[in-house]
């Protein structure tokens, strides 16, 4: 089973921490952009005809910011070109301030059955500083709208590391999300990327330190679990059965195809990424060329490491049997020394190797030991 990712690079305005391909100034190009997306999908039809897809994910940018007909169009094109399973998980990222009932009806028609809501914080002062277009109240309006339309599988994003953030404030944000009825929370630490406005705040020392984030995270993690949202990956928490299948596929090193500007793919041991420039992307597609700008064949060593690096992010860990089938190597022999060195921090249970709960958030050094 494989996943499909569609990048929608349009936003009303850019958030201060955003370094994704999103173009507030390029509004008006949506029609042309989606035309290109359809064309790109068609272009890969032959190549991917053997594949069956069981997840679709619309990410951005703000997919809920463009006309819902575009989403419907994209879904129709996917169904036309690819084998999509009956019960596929189809996720749309939404901004709480952009959702309307009319739009929801069209999403439903498109087959969207999961929503990922960019809440980020339950505090309006934070949202303002981040240049978000919504308020805490918008979030509750958004979730009640979803529930009225019969949706129950939706998630909220929460950011850690914001200026003056405390565990109490984070708990309040979680409370808000839970009050809205989310079955899933993604809780990310803010990563100030060079070139984003928030990087200045970072340089000025206004954001929380790694230690402070780590402390808040541990508290928040316990709090989330106490609310029945259990951690199935470093940054992702869900009620049983509401884990994101699309994202789990990444961490199990499953294959996926990405469409649109900046989208990445992993097909047949090859990782490739589309152009980050919207005009270049569209030009290439119009010329019937692949819009890829980088492509790497993953060699065996690297593949094994990726499998471990991704797998150890999850609660379940690495499926050792699967490793041996994929790479034709005995896992326990190959990593004997690493396993010995890290025995205090690793769990080996029922054919799965995972990092103990208390070390999941400080895992880089463990993972690095698996690197040659």
């Amino acid at each position: 089973m494989a996943g499909i990712y569609i990048h929608v690079p349009f936003c009303k305005q850019k958030c201060t921490y955003c370094d994704f391909a999103s173009y507030p100034k390029e509004i008006g190009k949506e029609e042309a952009y989606f035309a290109c997306l359809y064309r790109e999908m068609l272009g890969r039809k032959e190549e991917l005809k053997e594949y069956t897809f069981n997840t679709v994910y619309f990410g951005g940018g703000t997919p809920s910011f463009v006309k819902p007909e575009h989403i419907l169009g994209a879904m129709n094109q996917i169904k036309k070109c690819y084998n999509l399973t009956e019960n596929a998980e189809i996720t749309l990222e939404v901004n709480p301030g952009t959702l309307t009932e009319e739009n929801l009806k069209i999403y439903k028609k498109a087959g969207i059955n999961r929503f990922s809501i960019g809440l980020q914080s339950g505090w309006n002062e934070d949202l303002e500083k981040l240049n978000r277009i919504h308020t805490a109240k918008d979030f509750l309006l958004c979730t009640s709208m979803l529930k009225r339309e019969g949706f129950e599988n939706f998630s909220a994003d929460i950011l850690l590391g914001l200026e003056n953030q405390t565990i109490e404030k984070v708990k309040k944000s979680i409370d808000l999300a839970v009050a809205g009825g989310v079955k899933h929370i993604s809780m990310y630490a803010l990563t100030p990327e060079v070139g984003t406005p928030i990087y200045t705040n970072y340089l000025n020392g206004e954001l929380l330190s790694d230690d402070e984030v780590g402390e808040i995270y541990e508290e928040a993690y316990k709090y989330l679990e106490s609310l029945g949202l259990y951690r199935y990956e470093v940054s992702n928490f869900a009620s049983l059965g509401y884990e994101s299948r699309h994202n789990l596929n990444y961490w199990r090193r499953g294959e996926y195809i990405g469409f649109g500007v900046s989208a990445s793919s992993f097909i047949d041991e090859r990782r490739f990424t589309n152009s980050f420039k919207i005009d270049e992307y569209m030009n290439l597609v119009i010329l019937n060329k692949k819009p890829e700008i980088s492509s790497d064949i993953i060699e065996l060593e690297d593949a094994m490491f990726e499998f471990i690096m991704l797998g150890l992010r999850t609660k379940e860990g690495i499926n050792i049997n699967k490793f041996e089938v994929l790479f034709k190597e005995n896992f326990l022999t190959r990593y004997k020394d690493v396993l010995k060195k890290n025995e205090k921090v690793l769990d080996l249970n029922d054919g799965y190797l995972s990092i103990k709960d208390e070390y999941l958030y400080v895992q880089n050094h463990i993972i690095m030991d698996f690197m040659k």
Partner: protein, 603 residues
């Protein structure tokens, strides 16, 4: 080539305190004799090691041959042997002195006579060299050549009023120096017809020619085909090449009595040649070897380990090659729980240790870990036996020790009078015993102290310099052993002794040092997944404790489809840093930790 009868040869060296302009003068002499044109002149030609140029010091002696037509119309051959200035390299100096008849003594026109100046003068006198003072840097604003000349006469007792007063930097009065070399220094004595007798004063290994011996021919002649042997090795060799230094190796037909040059004889094994040994001819051997050199004993010891354990043999090769032209370096295989296989090396001093470490890293491309330097202690055991311990790990259990003796030094510290108080305080801290204080003149005092060597091998020199704004200089000689109250201080990381961090220290200073080292370790050990307790322990008793806190967050914030390649690169970068670490049990320590902990009381 008998155009140069030994009458016209002058073999000399230049001695000076560090930074008084020795290498600059050597360059100027070569330039003026046309040995190198000023166009192709690279600054400080003789300091060919990168390390020497960077630090502006001379470490290795380097010979060069020059031709000079004197005022008497005759052409003279000059063999100049450049020498190091630092106290640690006294041994190198004495080696070059034995190959010379004269020594140019450079004195800085503003700084005057310094500790090292004196030390080198005494060495030169011991070797029966003629000494010619030269006052350098007369171009400086602060130059006081007449006063300095008087200083030389008063302190050293050399006639100096009419000596050359020059500026090597500006090229002023260099011809005075060249002329004085002819008139002040005697030509070499020696019997050209007698059996071959040549002193090996240096050597190095060449991949094509084998060992190259730097020699001073005392008697006889050596040419290609001469069958030679040395006194210390039974092996015989056929000479394949002889030549002189110009300053690059330049082949010649033969070398005769009085000359300085090199010999190559397809000597493949480094062990077959010892610096200080005498070369003679097979079948026509000289009955008695030259006195050779006083064997120098290392006084500072430290463990040297390859960062990558699999490079043990490379390290061994490198040390062997270094030893070839640095006989003062000693080493033997050693094994540490924390660091694996390596060598316990003996050095002449701290600078010597640093230089060897840097040469290992630069010239042999090795990443090494070095442990805290130690001196050699005499441990008197309760069973009456005495053992030498230069590695704290080898110290027997307390119950088996009757008492320990440590090596002392006689230190001479020269300084302007205003720093006397600061120096006394420093010496006091270092367990020094005051002996004497002499006013050399209005501006300089000489203080004499007896100090334990183990107190000065850490940071004494740096502290002295910083307390006297760089004015004080320091010289020492090893004195006798003294009974002392010494204990072994161990460092525990995460509850386990790290043998590479153990030191032997005076009981009264143990608490302070233990605390300082623990604090320093806390600074240099990066935070890890676990909390790491650091404890300083003496005989089972914990005297200091610090904790390296565990980090709270060390994770890639998110990792989805598009992130994999980028995040993998981030991890690879993080891993690079980790590779510079040594794992000791479950704790990772950066390799420089072992040395930086020494710089604990540099206030």
């Amino acid at each position: 080539m008998s155009k140069n009868p030994s009458e016209n040869i002058r073999n000399f060296c230049i001695i000076a305190h560090i930074d008084h302009g020795k290498s600059t003068l050597a360059d100027r002499l070569m330039e003026q004799t046309g040995q190198v044109s000023s166009r192709e002149m690279e600054e400080q030609l003789l300091d060919s090691m990168d390390l020497e140029r960077e630090r502006g010091i001379t470490i290795k002696l380097t010979p060069v041959r020059m031709f000079y037509t004197a005022k008497d119309g005759k052409e003279y051959t000059f063999n100049l042997i450049d020498t190091p200035g630092h106290v640690d390299f006294t041994y190198e100096v004495s080696r070059s002195l034995a190959a010379c008849e004269g020594a140019i003594l450079i004195v800085d026109a503003s700084q005057g006579v310094e500790a090292q100046t004196l030390a080198n003068v005494y060495l030169a006198l011991e070797n029966n060299l003629e000494i010619m003072p030269v006052i350098n840097k007369i171009d400086l604003q602060s130059a006081r050549p007449t006063e300095v000349a008087k200083e030389i006469e008063d302190i050293i007792g050399l006639e100096a009023m009419n000596c050359p007063k020059i500026s090597a930097k500006e090229g002023l009065n260099i011809c005075d120096v060249l002329e004085s070399v002819v008139t002040s220094f005697p030509p070499p004595q020696g019997d050209e017809e007698g059996p071959l007798k040549a002193l090996i004063f240096d050597s190095y290994y060449d991949n094509f020619k084998g060992v190259i011996c730097f020699v001073r021919i005392v008697d006889g002649e050596v040419k290609i085909g001469t069958k030679i042997k040395t006194f210390m090795s039974p092996k015989e060799f056929d000479v394949t090449e002889v030549g002189v230094f110009s300053p690059k190796l330049t082949p010649k037909a033969s070398l005769k009595a009085g000359e300085v040059g090199y010999i190559a004889a397809s000597i493949k094994s480094i062990e077959d040649i010892a610096v200080g040994d005498t070369i003679t001819e097979v079948g026509n051997a000289t009955p008695k070897p030259l006195p050779g050199y006083k064997k120098v004993l290392p006084v500072v010891f430290s463990g040297v380990y390859p960062l990558d354990g699999s490079r043990f043999n490379d390290l061994k090769d490198a040390l062997l090659k270094l030893k070839l032209n640095d006989a003062s370096l000693t080493f033997e295989a050693d094994n540490s729980v924390a660091l694996g296989f390596g060598f316990r090396c003996g050095f002449l001093g701290l600078l010597h240790m640093e230089v060897i470490q840097e040469r290992l890293e630069r010239e042999f491309d090795l990443d090494i870990v070095t442990t805290a330097p130690s001196v050699s202690y005499l441990v008197h055991k309760t069973d009456g036996s005495v053992m030498n311990v230069d590695n704290p790990t080898h110290l027997p259990p307390v119950t088996e020790i009757d008492y320990i003796e440590e090596p002392m030094i006689n230190a001479s510290i020269f300084s302007p009078p205003e720093y006397v108080g600061a120096i006394m305080e420093l010496c006091q801290q270092k367990r020094g015993v005051y002996k004497d204080l002499v006013y050399l003149d209005k501006l300089r005092v000489e203080m004499k102290y007896v100090l334990p060597l183990n107190e000065i091998i850490y940071d004494f020199f740096d502290s002295l310099k910083s307390r006297t704004r760089g004015y004080a200089s320091f010289d020492y000689e090893i004195a006798e052993y003294q009974k002392s109250d010494l204990v072994k201080l161990d460092m525990l990381l995460n509850g386990e002794i790290c043998d590479a961090l153990s030191i032997i220290v005076h009981k009264e200073k143990a608490y302070e040092r233990g605390r300082a080292i623990a604090e320093k370790l806390k600074e240099v050990i990066p935070r890890q997944m676990f909390e790491i307790p650091i404890q300083a322990v003496i005989g089972g008793k914990i005297i200091a404790r610090e904790t390296v806190k565990a980090y709270r967050k060390d994770v890639l914030a998110k990792c989805y489809g598009g992130d994999v390649t980028r995040k993998k690169k981030l991890l690879e970068k993080q891993k690079e840093g980790k590779k510079k670490m040594r794992s000791i049990g479950s704790v990772e320590i950066p390799s420089e930790a072992f040395i930086t902990i020494l710089k604990t009381d540099n206030k």
